[in-house]
Point group: C2
């Protein structure tokens, strides 16, 4: 499979980009398509790296707009969990397909997922042709038998996707308050043995910190370190309440933090605080950006999310110079967080995970491209999305999109989450 993009610009220069076997093999003003190449017209577009969504629960698109504006406990326990208890493999498959289509449309080439029915997720990811690191949720606070069954599922899933070209298997102990110490230690052991990533929610609420201090005598990050889970393989979602000592420890251990500003603000998790990004970067922590699930965001559009991220951090730091546009761009492309797998550069030898963005969009006129992508764009400026050398959206067209939308909508209707607009 070979592909050539002609007529796009890169760093302000007109370039032609050739792709073979999923990687960029040549790039420049004098490159020409070879006979047999699939050719994409890049007129009036710029070629930029694909975006990385560091934390989501993709299939929760089925619960988008279903239970907004509720306190966390009521939202989760009374509305979300009862629905989740009824989700089957096909629900998760179609919810994930809807999420993948939305992500490809808005420029995401890779995402980190944690959700039920991992085999269905992997199937959806493969069919969509996007990259994903998929974590099997590990929860045993509600029963040892559940925990044992999830451990088997997790091990089986790691085997099943070991050679998958797009899916990386991971372990997803949900949080320190839903996974027992025994489960966390087991996760640490398997992660080390198999060299696989761990994806966990950490320090998302003040209650979690208080309970951890009560139960374990230390703060959540220190507890995670004690059980062996603070490693370079670990991705920590949220970390709103990490203090300075915890951030220093995370930097030392080489774990990655993924911040999810929309979700944190929408659920009002911070009690006025947000993830201490400036302090974290001061310690050298790797940081990425996530949307969280569509039930708590409610979009999966990283170009909307990165604006919110930069703005809320300027606000929190009381400094308009905090998180300048180019730094925010590093975060949303996954470059500030190696664990996220953001290849980050459109260059010869790099995997062909890139976007064509429409430079003739009004909201990108005039001004610096990166500043406009961060502050002015939504995902609608993405014209074409290429993942692993394959064109997954071409000039805003994703094959099968209407069917994906219809199937997901039918699933949501059957679950009772579809909402009012669907009465039409």
């Amino acid at each position: 499979m070979s592909l050539t993009v002609v007529g796009a610009t890169h760093d302000g220069e007109a370039v032609t980009v050739r792709v073979e076997d999923g990687a960029i093999v040549s790039m420049g003003g004098d490159v020409e398509p070879l006979p047999g190449d699939e050719v994409v017209d890049g007129t009036d577009t710029a070629i930029v790296p694909g975006l990385v969504n560091g934390h989501t629960h993709a299939a929760m698109t089925l619960m988008r707009g279903f239970a907004d504006d509720l306190p966390l406990k009521e939202w989760l326990e009374d509305r979300i969990w009862p629905i989740e208890g009824r989700l089957d493999e096909d629900d998760v498959y179609w919810g994930t397909r809807l999420a993948c289509a939305e992500m490809l449309r808005t420029g995401t080439v890779r995402f980190w997922d944690m959700y039920w029915h991992v085999h269905a997720i992997a199937r959806a990811v493969g069919d969509a042709g996007i990259r994903a690191t998929v974590a099997t949720p590990l929860i045993d606070r509600f029963g040892d038998d559940v925990g044992e069954s999830l451990k088997s599922e997790a091990l089986g899933f790691l085997d099943a996707v070991a050679d998958d070209p797009l899916v990386t298997g991971a372990l997803g102990p949900h949080a320190i308050y839903t996974a027992s110490e025994r489960m966390l230690r087991w996760t640490a052991e398997i992660s080390a043995q198999r060299d696989v990533p761990v994806h966990i929610h950490l320090s998302e609420s003040e209650q979690e910190v208080a309970d951890c201090l009560d139960e374990h005598g230390v703060r959540p990050t220190e507890y995670l370190d004690r059980v062996g889970l603070l490693t370079p393989r670990t991705l920590l979602a949220h970390c709103i309440f990490c203090n300075d000592d915890e951030l220093a420890l995370i930097a030392e251990r080489g774990s990655t933090i993924v911040t999810n500003p929309s979700s944190n603000l929408k659920l009002a998790m911070g009690g006025g605080l947000v993830f201490p990004y400036v302090a974290a970067r001061g310690h050298g922590v790797s940081v990425g950006l996530g949307t969280d699930g569509a039930a708590s965001n409610n979009a999966l559009d990283l170009l909307a999310e990165v604006k919110l991220f930069a703005l809320i951090q300027k606000h929190a730091a009381a400094d308009p110079a905090a998180v300048p546009a180019h730094e925010a761009w590093e975060v949303v492309t996954g470059r500030l967080a190696g664990l996220l797998g953001g290849r980050g550069r459109v260059a010869v030898g790099q995997p062909a995970d890139f976007l064509l963005v429409r430079t003739d969009a009004l909201e990108l006129t005039p001004g610096d491209l990166v500043a406009n992508l961060v502050y002015a764009a939504s995902g609608s400026v993405v014209d074409t999305t290429v993942v692993a050398g394959e064109v997954r959206m071409r000039h805003r067209h994703i094959p099968g999109e209407p069917d994906i939308r219809r199937e997901a909508l039918a699933r949501a209707r059957a679950l009772g989450t579809a909402g009012d607009q669907d009465l039409r």
Copy 2:
């Protein structure tokens, strides 16, 4: 001129909507187009009210992404003001045309503007076919002669647009620190005499409050009341630092506050605080939403802005139930602020200022339409924009858009604000 929209839904019901002479004359399942009607196909769309941008400086699109990530003083005094000193009528015309096109694309049908060269603004507004309340800036702290000349310009402009079908003339004393007490009292007098709106920045920075207390012995709102400018005709932009007494006074006087969350966060104006929306509504203050100018936002997309508004207010209130989606929708359609002129309802007898939004957009699937518009959509879900009964964007097409973009870009290049992407 008559127009019929067929096949759209409204509140979940399929309706046909007929428009004559700028107003909705019939609406329902059994309405038919009449011979000679312009017909718009509304398949897979919902018809919703147009949005109202309560505070912007439209022509500042020419400075989009030009000087991001700088402290306010440096941004304004070293970067923005020198450019503004060189703007001519044609620059403002094309910058405003670019802004109008971006606003029509993202669902705005009416905006409140304050900027130099008001006649050029009015011409751009008329040519774009959008509604606007345009305030002549009134500043005399840098010289009495400037003040006198602006007063003449303001009076001439009020006369010039007195019968304009789309433009409402207004008075724009820039702020209490740039307009003298004499200028503010003159504004109050003219506003009362001619029954015209007043548009002013208020309480945007802590410094402004401190200086006002120093100079006048009262807080900014009380000072504004003292000079006769706190009336139902007055729109107050920002109001980050209004305290409870000031909010009560604003409610009593019937003035309207317009909050601009992106701009306030991006310039980090609040020192950690945001406009106290929940308290303001508690007092019954009329509140609208604005984008501010593109140099400090950097988009003019109200569907992005309304999400940020709702989320930052939930965060500030530490309450996920604060500003539920339906209330945020009231704000962005101008319904919570009569002064903004948001007609707010798609109903027989109402002005035909409405949108068709694509209900088959992935980010609007599934879920409640209003919740999705507030939390999940960007302006790209707007398919068609109708202002005063005229179709100004049809199925994403705005007549002349490429020319508007090219002219505005050429102007920005000549001004030196165009940025890197334009090297291509």
